[in-house]
């Protein structure tokens, strides 16, 4: 692990991040914008799966999901900048481990949705009730994304990042 940290610290990107005054705040700002897109758009779809806003056809709610994916890609990119820039902050940080765990859970949950539920709910129109499995997956998604946010914000407090 420490060898990996040293290797990352020696990369050009890492040196740029350390030396620049603006790269870190700039990426943090983008990271927060991406957070809003993921929580908002994925959360909206989750709420429809759980049974809120039933007048929205499920497939119409799903049509916005590419924006959540774009938000996630913004956060993945800026997140990589943080980890490469200051790997020493994340290498021994339990909040970071928990954050990655909840990200994995959110990802597996999305795979589970496509695999088990998507075909059953995609034709549900306005007013239609979603099956129990869809409600479970929607809840799990909401919980895991908010847990990702919580652990991320706790990086400096439970762990040692800034």
């Amino acid at each position: 692990m420490d060898a990996l940290v040293a290797w990352l610290q020696a990369t050009t990107l890492s040196r740029m991040v350390v030396q620049s005054l603006w790269i870190w705040p700039f990426c943090e700002t983008i990271h927060f914008v991406g957070l809003g897109l993921v929580i908002g758009v994925a959360g909206f779809f989750d709420l429809r799966l759980i049974g809120f806003m039933k007048r929205v056809p499920v497939s119409a709610a799903k049509e916005l999901m590419p924006f959540a994916v774009w938000g996630f890609l913004l956060n993945l990119t800026t997140g990589i900048v943080f980890v490469v820039g200051h790997p020493e902050q994340y290498a021994h940080n339990s909040a970071f481990v928990a954050k990655m765990g909840f990200l994995l859970l959110a990802g597996l949950n999305a795979v589970l949705f496509e695999w088990m539920v998507s075909a059953q709910v995609v034709d549900l129109g306005a007013g239609d009730e979603t099956p129990a499995m869809a409600k479970v997956i929607g809840t799990l998604s909401l919980v895991s994304w908010f847990a990702v946010l919580y652990c991320g914000r706790m990086l400096p407090f439970i762990g040692n990042a800034f």
């Binding site: 809003g36 993921v38 929580i39 916005l64 924006f67």
Partner: protein
């Protein structure tokens, strides 16, 4: 004014927020502020995307419950925001970027109220004039919320 800010910083609540080693003090208040940000900006973004014309099969009035999430999450951020300000009042009151943030938020919330009227009242299909108005509201909303996030983040650096 300085006296008031110094007093504010010295109140038991401000001291607890700033100095308590408990994870429930500063870290949790800051995290709740971020949770509220996600809900306020996220729910607004969904409304904005629909106003821009994405996912046209979503009936405008079906989005109405999102505004309730916006107001509750905003209340959470107003409350946690007051605590965060109290904990560091003399410094934050001197930051121009803090007032810029408040301005962005005020304008963005006003814009949200105008968008809500469009969402609640519109009957589709929209006439051309109304359509361009809703698109304008959406673009302004996205810009103002991005501005508020940027100003908020920069408060830690400027």
């Amino acid at each position: 004014m300085t006296e008031f800010l110094t007093w504010l910083e010295g109140t038991a609540l401000a001291v607890w927020t700033r100095e308590s080693p408990s994870l429930w003090a500063y870290p949790t208040i800051l995290t709740l502020h971020t949770v509220g940000l996600g809900i306020v900006v996220g729910a607004n973004a969904v409304v904005d995307l629909r106003l821009l014309g994405f996912s046209p099969r979503i009936p405008f009035p079906a989005l109405r419950p999102l505004f309730r999430f916006v107001w509750w999450a905003f209340a959470l951020n107003a409350a946690t925001g007051v605590l965060l300000f109290m904990a560091d009042a003399t410094t934050k009151a001197k930051q121009p970027i803090f007032y810029l943030k408040l301005t962005f938020i005020g304008l963005a919330l006003w814009n949200t109220m105008l968008s809500k009227r469009v969402i609640v009242e519109e009957r589709e299909p929209l006439e051309r004039e109304r359509l361009s108005r809703s698109r304008r509201l959406a673009v302004v909303s996205l810009l103002l919320w991005t501005g508020a996030i940027t100003a908020g983040r920069l408060m830690a650096y400027l």
